[in-house]
Every structure is written in C-alpha cells, then in structure tokens.
Subunit: 364 residues, 2 copies
DNA sequence: TGTCTTATTGCATTCGAATGCAAATGTCAT
DNA sequence: ATGACATTTGCATTCGAATGCAATAAGACA
C-alpha cells in the first residue's frame, strides 16, 4: 500500500497549507479511477479516524456536530457512501428482504409486487427478488436467501413445511402472503377466501341459479383449493351436489378452456364460479365468443380477487376484491416488526374481501 | 432438525476435551442456535484449514478430490453455505444485478420483469429490484446501487445523462431496456418504434383512413415520444397535418379519456393511434361504451407493444408486438458480457416488432 | 536412494465498516 | 485550582471468505 504511506505523510504537512497538492494527486482527466472510495479515504481527507467517519453515518452515534458536518462534506465531495456488504457483514443487518413470488402471480397481480417493494423501499429496505416458475426453484432460492443473510422474507409462493422450518432454523422472519401454512405456525396475511366465496355463492343462489360449474385452480394452490372447497360447501348447504369442477392454472386461456369444458358437460349451465378473476375473464370471453351467450342474462360468471382488467368495461367481473393495499401494508409492517423484535408474536391476519357487483352475474 | 443438535454435541466433545465445553454451550433442544455456520466451523469439523474449505466451493481451485468430497459432506451435514456478503467484500463480485423499472411499466408489462429475473437467475445472478413511482426516486435507488456494489444493472426506467455518467464513474455496466440515451453512449436493447409505427400508420392510410387522432404518452417517455413522432411524420408524408394529439399516461383509464377527448375535438374521427396497447384497450372500451362504435367498421384503433390483454378476444388489438423474450434475452446476455469483459463494446440492439393484425382496425 | 516436479495444503493478509474500551479533551462546581 | 463528570475521539478487533505465497507431501525419474 504505497498510496497510504504517501498521503499519510502529506496529511501531516497539509495542516498548515499544503492541502492543494495532497488533495488532487490524480490526473484531472481520469474520472474517479481505481477502487471505490472507502471510509478510510474520507477519514484521511477529513483528518479524522475511520471510526469517526463511521459514526457520522450512524444515527445517534457519539460525534461532535462540527466534526460530523466536516466529515459529511468531505464524504459528499469524494462521493462516498458506506459499503453495504461490509456493513452487513459486521453488523448482521443487511436491510435486505427477499420477495418470493411465482411468475404467474406476478403476471396476474403485478400490483402486489409493486406495492410490496414500494412499502419496503419507503422503510429503507431493499428487495431481493425471486420469481419462481416451478416448485423446484424454491430450494435454490432459499439457498440464496441464507447466503445473502437477508433480514426477512415475504413469500407469495407456496412453501413446504420443511421449507418453513428452514426459515425458523436460519432465524429469518417470514411472512406468507395469501397463503397459510398447513401444520406450522407462520405469520401470514391473507384474504378470507371462505367468507368471500360463501357470500358470492350465496348471492348466486339467492338469484335462483341452480346449475353450477366451477373452474378451480391447480391442486397445489392454497387459495385456489380454499375457494373451491368453500364454494362446494356452500352449494351443498343449499342441497346442490354433483357440481362439475374443472381445473385451470389461473390464466386467461385456462379460464376460456374451463368454460368450454363445463359447457360440454352441461349445456344448460346457469352459473360458473371461477376461483380467480383472470380465469373469469377468459370464461366470459369464451361464453360470448364460442357460445354466443350474453352476460348476465344467459349465464352468470363470477371471479375472485379483483385484478386490474376485471373492472374494465368489457368485463365488469362480479367478484370479491382483495384489499391489496391494506394487505401489502400489513405484510410489510408485520415483517418489519418481526425483524426488529425477534420474539414478536406470530400472527395470522385475515382480511375480508369486498363484493364487487359487476355485470357478469345476476345476484340475488 | 433435532439431528443436527444431537450429533454436534458428540463431535464437539471428542476433539480434545477442553474445546468441547466451548463448542456446545447451548441446550440441546434449541435447533441451530447462536451464529451461523462459517467456513471455520466446517474446517474444524473436517480437520482442514479454512482456506481448504473455501477452495472446495470455488470452481477450479487447487484441492484434492478426496478432501473436497469430505469437506463438502461435512458442509452439507452442518448446513453450511458461503456467506455472500463476505464473498462479495473480498472478491469484488456480488453476483447481484439491479433492475430498475417503473411501477407503471411493471403493471402494464409484468412479463418483462419476470423474463428478466428468470434469465438472470438462470445465470446464477440475483436480482435487486427497484420499482420506481416517480422520477425523483431514481437518485436514491442509484445511491443504493453503489452501496450494494452490484455487478451490473438493467434499467427500464428513464435515466438522465448525469445519472448515466454515474454508472460509468462507478464502473457499473448498464443496459437500457426500451430506452436509449440521448447524448451518452449506453448499451441498450429496444424495439424499433419508428419502423413499427410507420408500418402501422402506413397500413391505416392504405385502408383509406384520413381523419386521425393520436393518444400519446407523457412527455418524458422516450418510447412514447418516439412513436408519436413517427406516427406524425408518416401522416405528414401522406399530406395529413393538424392531427389532434392528446396525452395519456399509458394506463387503461387514460386511453379511455384520451379517446373521449379526441372525439370531442373531431366527432368524425376515423382512426385512433394509441402509443401503447393498454391505452388502446381503454380507447376501444370507451369507443364502444361511450360512443356506441363498432370496431373496426365505425372506427379503427391501433396500439403498440403487444401486452397480454391485447390478444384477448374482446379486444384483439391491431398492434406491433415487441419480441419480449428475445429482447430480455438480449439485455441479459449483453449485460453479462459487459460484466465479464470490462471493455466489451457498447452496443445498441434494435429489434423489429411484429405486426399483429387483430380486429380493432381496418388495414389496407 | 536422491533430486526434481507437481499437486495439496496452510498461513497470513485482505476487503470495509462497526464498536467496546480507554484516552483525551472540555465543562462545571466547589 | 482541583476533582467530578460528560463529551469526543482513536485504537484495535471483529465479521467471513478469498488468495498469494511458502511449506509440505507425493510421485517421477535417473
């Protein structure tokens, strides 16, 4: 380190006026060449110790106001900012939170990701994003979580009990978004699918519908299965059994195919319950285009969750809207709480959905 | 994992005796208590030095196959994985890439984000996500970039020349997505708006349309302005001037409002050029609902970029589809190339869009 | 058997910031 | 002036992995 030896010597001399030479030892044409600026560089330039520089950037550290100001000025001039890696390594806090989301969820509800990152950013937390395409990608994502020592995680993707246990072992606070763990206790934020679906189905029944069909989600989807079961249970209470169920993958296309499959089973279908809005939209388009139905007169179709396009005037899907803003806010604040206080209670928060009457179904 | 707690105590005690007490001061019931497993833990347990452990995880490092196997086995048993912070700090490589995207872009084209992260993840690179709501948030995002010493960045958000210069200064390779820098040389991947828009307008003209309206984007949107200018230029070539232009913000609602505003200016409008699909969809709905028009007979509406809903059967927007998969692949591979080779040439790649005929406009 | 390679391994240092502790400085009351 | 005390500051160590260099062991060859 010839560099340090040299300038250190100059620093002694500069006190009385030789600052000019010591301050710009690099040719003016090279813009910030070489390695990045460190706290040592700032310390040397400001004539203080590295510790002092560090204290200037820590809230509530013991440092004289005058010193602080001088150091910050030098830091600004040199373009210094603390190295997050070094900070994380020594302090154990990275201000990083991992977000796990399936690419499907992201495609259908981009606002979830946007809202979560926004709220995290507002709290000065950075987001490490993992968009998962397959179940199998979860493990490698988790491996990366541990390596990066994130302070916490929010998952809008399905995690197995073993995977949940890993979070506990690694002491990484986790909040599940729109999922709840089967056996394990895990913090979660979700929308009350059961109550919502029951309300929706109840209203369809009240309007006199008797021939139903259900477009469910994949078997491994927690929310999908929850809604399917709730709908079937409510129908059974009304004495309606043997309701045909087809499965989709939450996409527009699978909704259209789902409707077609149901129509094939029962041409006199009166009401179709789709477990999410995207499939409801696909079903609506298929009902109109492929079967010439007019909604809601010839057929009722309901969805769930209130995604963006559901409110477009071509659809006006009758649905239960999830309070995304409140849910994301809850998820983030729960997570932050659990990060700050290691033994904050594990809480499950359930939000009620809001019935959107729309124009795609007759309700009673 | 009771397994770990149990076995650890035994092995710790057997070392020499004195170390045993220090090695397991924790009650056996707490699973993996205290600090995380480090390379030193693995080294001790495997009877090698920390350097040896490190070499086992580095590709092509000098280590005996037998040793490697033994160490990896111990590492697996203890649940060890290298600490990314320490690795990044010492090696200068974090395998982290920042993604800058506006929340609006993410909302309208969620597949862009999903594709980018997928391709980066495939290359074993993690994603630090920044979703920006306002122009002003760019600076603080950049500040975080430098702090986290990301290896590179992809931006689908607008950056000023000054901001671009910062990337050069900090030596962080950058690839712009669907944006090109005005004055600065910067790597970029984009879709040829000019050619696409000219083709679209040319076809509208060929079909006999003469009374046009344009729903443009915000003034600070690069792509929006590019398309607006291209459309106006092409119209002017055909001798059509004084075309009314209204501005939207790329959203569905603003498309609907845009159409309404245009209709107010010219009730005999024949063709509406929207600079993106989302606004085209809004315009289509407004044309049908608020003005009772039938497309494409009474009115032609075209969009640009080919977002998901544009292909839904209610819309079938006539548009230019961007080759998102090829574009994201290009962006990622360009970035990786520039990360590996610091002086790889700065390249601008322009992809041609594909005309989607749709059903929302009469083309000639 | 002795010398020369070559493959492994360990030692010691490094990355950059945070922090406990002690030293230095300053303030105030007596 | 002096002791009691609070405020600032610096020193030295720490976090966990990577790596140049030297030491060692193993094998090759005469």
């Amino acid at each position: 380190m010839a560099r340090q030896g040299r300038t250190r010597k100059e620093t002694g001399a500069e006190e009385t006026g030789a600052t000019g030479a010591a301050a710009s030892p690099r040719p003016a044409n090279t813009p910030r060449t070489g390695r990045r600026v460190t706290s040592y560089d700032v310390a040397r330039e400001a004539g203080v110790s590295q510790s002092a520089v560090s204290r200037c950037f820590a809230a509530g550290a013991s440092i004289a106001p005058a010193t602080r100001e001088r150091v910050l000025e030098v830091a600004r001039r040199l373009g210094y900012a603390p190295n997050a890696l070094a900070q994380g390594l020594i302090s154990g806090r990275t201000n990083l939170v991992a977000l796990l989301i399936t690419s499907l969820t992201n495609r259908n509800y981009p606002e979830v990701l946007a809202e979560l990152t926004r709220r995290l950013t507002d709290r000065d937390i950075r987001v490490l994003l993992f968009t998962l395409n397959a179940e199998s990608e979860v493990d490698s994502a988790l491996d990366q979580l541990w390596r990066h020592s994130v302070d916490g995680a929010i998952s809008a993707a399905h995690l197995s009990d073993d995977q949940l246990r890993l979070f506990a072992q690694h002491r990484v606070p986790l909040v599940l978004y729109n999922r709840v763990a089967d056996g394990m206790p895990a913090a979660s934020v979700s929308c009350d699918s059961v109550a919502g679906e029951r309300e929706l189905v109840g209203r369809l029944l009240a309007a006199g519908h008797r021939r139903f069909g259900i477009v469910a989600g994949p078997e491994d989807s927690y929310v999908g299965e929850d809604r399917r079961r709730a709908a079937l249970a409510r129908l059974e209470e009304a004495g309606i059994t043997g309701v045909p169920v087809v499965r989709g993958d939450f996409s527009y296309e699978s909704g259209a195919e789902g409707l077609q499959a149901l129509m094939a089973q029962d041409g006199k279908l009166e009401a179709v319950i789709c477990v999410n809005d995207m499939m409801a939209i696909g079903a609506i388009d298929a009902a109109r285009d492929r079967f010439g139905r007019t909604l809601p007169d010839d057929l009722s179709i309901v969805g769930f969750d209130g995604s963006g396009p559901a409110s477009w005037s071509s659809y006006r899907v009758t649905s239960i809207r999830q309070p995304v803003r409140r849910m994301t806010e809850a998820a983030v604040s729960m997570l932050v709480e659990r990060i700050e206080d290691e033994k904050a209670t594990v809480e499950r928060r359930l939000f009620a959905g809001e019935l959107i009457e729309g124009r795609s179904a007759r309700l009673g």
